[in-house]
Symmetry: C2
Subunit: 210 residues, 2 copies
DNA sequence: CCGGCAATACAAAGTAGTTGGTATTTTAAA
DNA sequence: TTTAAAATACCAACTACTTTGTATTGCCGG
């Protein structure tokens, strides 16, 4: 077929790819032309073989999905990119958009959603999970998280800064607080999360995609 | 067919399940009899429908895979359970074994490995990722990582312990080293990775799935 | 209108890790 | 076999964070 949608998948889960392969084989308007197991491999392939659409796992070894999409969009702006992710999180979706992705698909979407997203994006549309107007819902997506651990907004705010590598002193300056206040907040955070070292806090933050 | 292997899959990634569905449809000796999107759902299903083998994602909402396998093995010891996981980590594999799982399969295994594991386990065998006597091959899978940052084996070993929350003192005890030595190693690690705080190291470790 | 939570602030003693050195021994590669 | 890298060890000054306290203010819901 002349106008098949040429696809490349980049994902480090071979089983997942095996599944997608079969799934796509049934679609006559799509052709899976190559497969990469990490970001580096993907860029290598794209060096000599360009698809219409890339399905790009966010979480990959070597070069992660976000870095990859940024590079791809710089080098091959015509190639459409759909991010695949386990996480339905604003900041990831935002980053994906910012780096030029054309779509964002949760791994627990259905086959139909996947196919529709591919077709839409191949036609030049964007396709992202729908999110309410933004400003006041910064905490919406994390509401569960907050409730789960009884963290307050302020505490959560401070966690964000810690995640970005701010020291207590820097957090204090950023938020116009005394460093003592930050220490108190941090103390309460650690207690609520049942943690005991700065590193374990960071581990918790990263592992839970806070 | 009389002696088909009856399967239930529990995984919160619908896409992944969709793939597995197709993949299993081609195997005449297997029958996928039901699907669950989380551990709770799985237990609900098993209340009235027992499979021969359960494919059980470790990482699921509501009731996670490890808790689920423990419960299943208590209530239905005859049902064989294969854990599915992204992570090739000793402690997870150990826990899976401990809770009674009959197999452990990485999500980046191939279709063939999956099918073989299912068949082996259905026949009553166990099937876990093969690990050499431990000490000398811990580094095989991470060779690339080591090279990328010029980390030595010892440094990498120490990173592993740091990841598990060991303090310098504890690392020293575990490896029969002076704490000074550990500090030196750590110093070198930080330098090689271009990091400057314990937290940033932990972030790096977790984000890169070290 | 009051009781509790959130947010703020302070302080001293203690622990963990960093920094910037130096230095010896073991091991692997050329 | 010699040479470089790796692994080991030490030290002192320093920074960051924790711990265990106390305490004040403002706000919101019952």
């Amino acid at each position: 077929m002349a106008n098949q949608i040429k696809l490349i998948i980049a994902d480090d889960h071979i089983l997942f790819i095996d599944g997608l392969k079969l799934l796509l084989r049934e679609e006559k308007d799509m052709a899976l032309i190559n497969i990469a197991n990490d970001g580096k491999e993907l860029l290598g392939i794209m060096h000599h073989q360009l698809p219409d659409v890339v399905l790009l796992d966010i979480n990959m070894p070597k070069i992660n999905g976000l870095d990859a999409v940024r590079f791809i969009k710089q080098s091959y702006p015509a190639v459409m990119v759909i991010m695949l992710s386990t996480y339905n999180e604003d900041h990831l979706i935002e980053k994906a958009k910012q780096y030029g992705a054309n779509g964002y698909l949760l791994k627990n979407s259905s086959k139909e959603e996947l196919l529709q997203t591919i077709r839409l994006v191949a036609e030049g549309h964007s396709c992202f999970p729908y999110r309410l107007p933004k400003i006041e819902n910064v905490f919406d997506s994390t509401d569960n998280f907050l409730k789960q651990f009884n963290l307050t907004k302020r505490e959560f705010e401070i966690i964000q800064l810690i995640k970005n590598g701010y020291t207590n002193q820097q957090v204090a300056e950023k938020l116009y607080l005394s460093i003592y206040t930050v220490e108190t907040h941090r103390k309460n955070i650690m207690q609520k999360l049942g943690l005991n070292t700065p590193s374990s806090l960071m581990k918790f933050i990263v592992e839970n995609n806070i």
